[in-house]
Amino acid sequence: MTDPARLSASGIRARLDEGRASSVELTRACLERVRRADGELGAFVRLNPEAEREAEEADRLIREGRAGPLTGIPVAVKDNINTAGLETGAGSSVLAGFVPLRDATVVARLRRAGAVVLGKTNLDEFGMGSSTENSAHGPTRNPNDLERVPGGSSGGSAVAVAAGMAPLALGSDTGGSVRQPAAFCGVVGIKPTYGRVSRSGLIAFASSLDQVGVFAADVEGAALLLDGISGEDAGDQTSLSTDAPVTPATFDGDAHGLRVGIPREYVGAGLDAGIRGGIDAAADALSAAGAAVEEVSLPHTRYAVPTYYLIATAEASSNLSRYDGVRFGARSGGGGGGGGGGDLPQMYRGTRTQGFGPEVQRRILLGTFALSSGYYDAFYGKAQRARTLVRRDFEELFDRGVDLLLTPTTPTPAFRLGEKLDDPVGMYLSDVYTVTASLAGLPALSLPVGLTGDGLPMACQLIGSHLGEATVFRAAFAIESRLTGTGASDA
């Protein structure tokens, strides 16, 4: 059979439902592809030993006519999302050996839908990074150029889909960690509205920003997966109860009636010329589909990265205080057992110092500083107010009748491995176009729009209003159907 993971999700659904392929065949083909390709890519940190059994179960449901939209489809899961009985490490030594008791809500929903969990994918430790170089398992590589990063922190999931190892994948996005790797790898990635998807079982980085997001080879696949995991959850107090649909009524490529704004602050200096061309092509596609495209302004954009890095690191310093060697994960520095040479504070410090990588330690320290006595108001307090200004910029545009914003996802294509490791500010600046939607809690999708002159993927980003995923998907499909070079075929 043709490489199954390059099929669009609707193509796979049709083949499964019509009996032209089985979930077991599809799953085995994906696992075979992992065996052949992942040695040099490093996308997966472990495979699910139950995958084929889950596929057999799915095939039974399909035969009995009880299949849903996700039944039988293999999905890769970022390793900061809990999978019951399958080790989950968040890319960190501090969680070595941790086996969750329960599935994260999103994984439970996948299983109830009959999807197959293929395996766990690599990430920057605890979601902190933009390159998937900060992992205890080593880096993941970009399949378009092995000397380049896939982006991060959900690099493994992006590569799983880009390299045809899985048709669908789950990631997480706090400041761009689904959208940026999607852009660097040439696949579709979406971060939903904050609260659209339950965070229960997602290992926390920054609780007011974290969201589970999805990767797919095409827009319809992303919509299918996001729809399947969305919905209010009693286990997540911040999850929303809503009737607002995730998917549009149809995928017909029409964009009549949509007002699309391109914020001038996102297309100025610092943006790669090739990517600028890609944004123009996306704008032309939307116009051809009937949308009205105009220039707009988000005046507080330049304050978004510092705002984000103060809030996210402050929340991270709090969330990561639970890693102390007492109840789960690794332990060191205490002399072992109930006695021994060390004492409890030494155990805490030893566990954390040895267990956390340098980027995580850097962010914990920055966050601790921002929250510390004497600096709290000047840093964290100020950042919370700046966040309000960033949110208001968007609200004003949406109140005026703009439906969507069209922007680049990243200022450059994928950079080289090692290039930004000694330059934290440089690394943080690669998030300049993605942190704003995170701060504002808005849905944002990254869509491939072609390749640069050097053959590297480039992407545009569509940012929607609160709970406006259906409009985002509608516009994204309109662009995708008019531009060549989408990632999926429909055999």
Binding site: Y303, Y309, D324, V326, F328, G329, R362, F369, T388, R391
Partner: protein, 95 residues
């Protein structure tokens, strides 16, 4: 904003991280340059702007009804060191 060694040591103490001399100096420099960058926010007048607490969404509470919680064995299953019904740790009080 330059940050001195004493401040970095203090924050590391708060965060329960041990830093050797090399790490201390490296982090002092890195944090200094990050803080220089976030000083951009000094340009903003936010006196009349309310803070966004959390994600700015409403907080809802569940009903105050009893539900099941973890069994003891489940709670201990990932422990680096445990006995019967508790986690074991090095002594807290030197005696």
């Amino acid at each position: 904003m330059p940050i001195d060694e004493r401040e970095v040591r203090h924050i590391a103490q708060l965060a329960l991280l041990d830093l050797d001399a090399q790490a201390l100096e490296r982090l002092r420099r890195e944090l200094g340059s990050i803080l220089d960058y976030v000083a951009l926010l000094d340009q903003l007048d936010v006196d009349d702007v309310p803070p966004t607490r959390g994600a700015g969404t409403e907080r809802r509470l569940r009903d105050d009804t009893e539900s099941t919680s973890l069994a003891v064995a489940e709670a201990l299953c990932n422990a680096p060191d445990s006995a019967e019904d508790h986690f074991r740790v090095p002594r807290v009080i030197k005696g």
